[in-house]
Symmetry: C2
Subunit: 292 residues, 2 copies
Amino acid sequence: MPETVGFVGLGVMGRSMAARLLAAGFPMRVHTRTRSKASDLLRGGAVWMEDNAAVAASSHAIITMLGFPEDVEAVYFGANGLLARVQTGALLIDMTTTRPSLSVRIHEEAARRGLRALDAPVSGGDIGAREGTLSIMAGGREEDFNAAQPLFRAMGGRIVFQGGPGAGQRTKLCNQIAGFGSTLGACESMAFAMRAGLDPAKVLESIGAGAAGSWALSNLAPRMLAGNFAPGFMVKHFLKDIRLALEEAQILGMQAPGLSLALELYARLEREGLGDQGTQALFQALVNSKNT
Amino acid sequence: MPETVGFVGLGVMGRSMAARLLAAGFPMRVHTRTRSKASDLLRGGAVWMEDNAAVAASSHAIITMLGFPEDVEAVYFGANGLLARVQTGALLIDMTTTRPSLSVRIHEEAARRGLRALDAPVSGGDIGAREGTLSIMAGGREEDFNAAQPLFRAMGGRIVFQGGPGAGQRTKLCNQIAGFGSTLGACESMAFAMRAGLDPAKVLESIGAGAAGSWALSNLAPRMLAGNFAPGFMVKHFLKDIRLALEEAQILGMQAPGLSLALELYARLEREGLGDQGTQALFQALVNSKNT
């Protein structure tokens, strides 16, 4: 019988990831701040736990999928936190995109307590989570990564061990850095097309498949042109990742001109009340911009 | 028998494009500043002309593939220029990436003289030119575009009429704007991976196929990681296009934060003597950067 899996954090991503594990036959113990978000999982056989400590005490592996580094800090290091309450030998897997140094601290504290820990953030969005095709980028000890493979395979399509503690997080930040560039390119190029009086759909036909091509141009540009700014990925979450990456670039002592621009542009969108829109909202700002 | 085609400007791109036309059976008249660049074409049956005026006088359609807007200006408007020397009814096709307003001027002057003109810049690089798979973005009168189809089909795989005079140029600028974004993303993300001590090839495995994916990440990142900075597309030519796009954004009164950053970063590379390297040279600058 497979080991019991605890899951903490049932937002849009976490809910779908937990559902994949449940469908794969793992007995599940779940908790999240808003119980109603667990209802589908509970109907499917997951067991509700009253708090994180109860999840910790009853599971062999615990997966967390939270919001901000502060949430991760509280859930792991709080008085009733996972690190204090988990069974000896348990495997803690944080799949939140968070601060690499926080992942390192979790690893260190886990090791001190005879526990195992992995950082394993994902990309692929809500669709990848639902379909079990996420890209999972893992950091920690390779033997723990190998032990987690059955869990990862239930959730991911591309599962890569990236190195020691924090390497999963740093890889995810690479993903966000590349993603910002191509999103900027798609938004600015489509805004330019509109302002120049071109037919942006025809422009996409000319430029989408060549050396300027990107996932953003193929997937986000048609949404922006249709006036669809619903989030695949929210401005406010992107901004969190941009700040984490900039912080890390600072620690590494390297220049990150793209990230600096990303912070400027996306912080402005959030100030303008667009934090809950998708990252393609940048198009709107540029198409309406005035160069004075 | 197909009509005679003149070709002016036999650089890396022009040479391959003229070779495709020759292979498609068009009788060719050619001229370029350095005669040796025409030798393969002449062996293949193209006829050398002593100057542009001689090309103009002996061809029904004349294609130009030049370097900078100043070159286009001289070749079209000079005393011995194409506009003055071409046969009545001839079709002038400028495939150089140049200033949209210059394309508009050529169209206007051509119309005044009973000639036809198209702007038809391309993307797809030296490989696309050799293989005849270029993306051709055309502006002008649609009937002239239709007349040019047999020529375009010999050189291009994706051939789209984008609108009136200058629309081809503006579309090409959209291509460069999107291309800068994804190139920046690829360079900065790989530089971050290196500086963070990750294995960049593994990082590419995790991030290359998802929402951060782009042609630049798939094609330029492996080159930069292999220390290959040979040009697919040269820094100095990219810089020309960035300046043209910024100039146009200024005319349109829109903000173009990506283009402003592109100018800053690529002008710095050129000042550092990297003008003849490929656009992926930005990776080198970032990976070696210090954040003081």
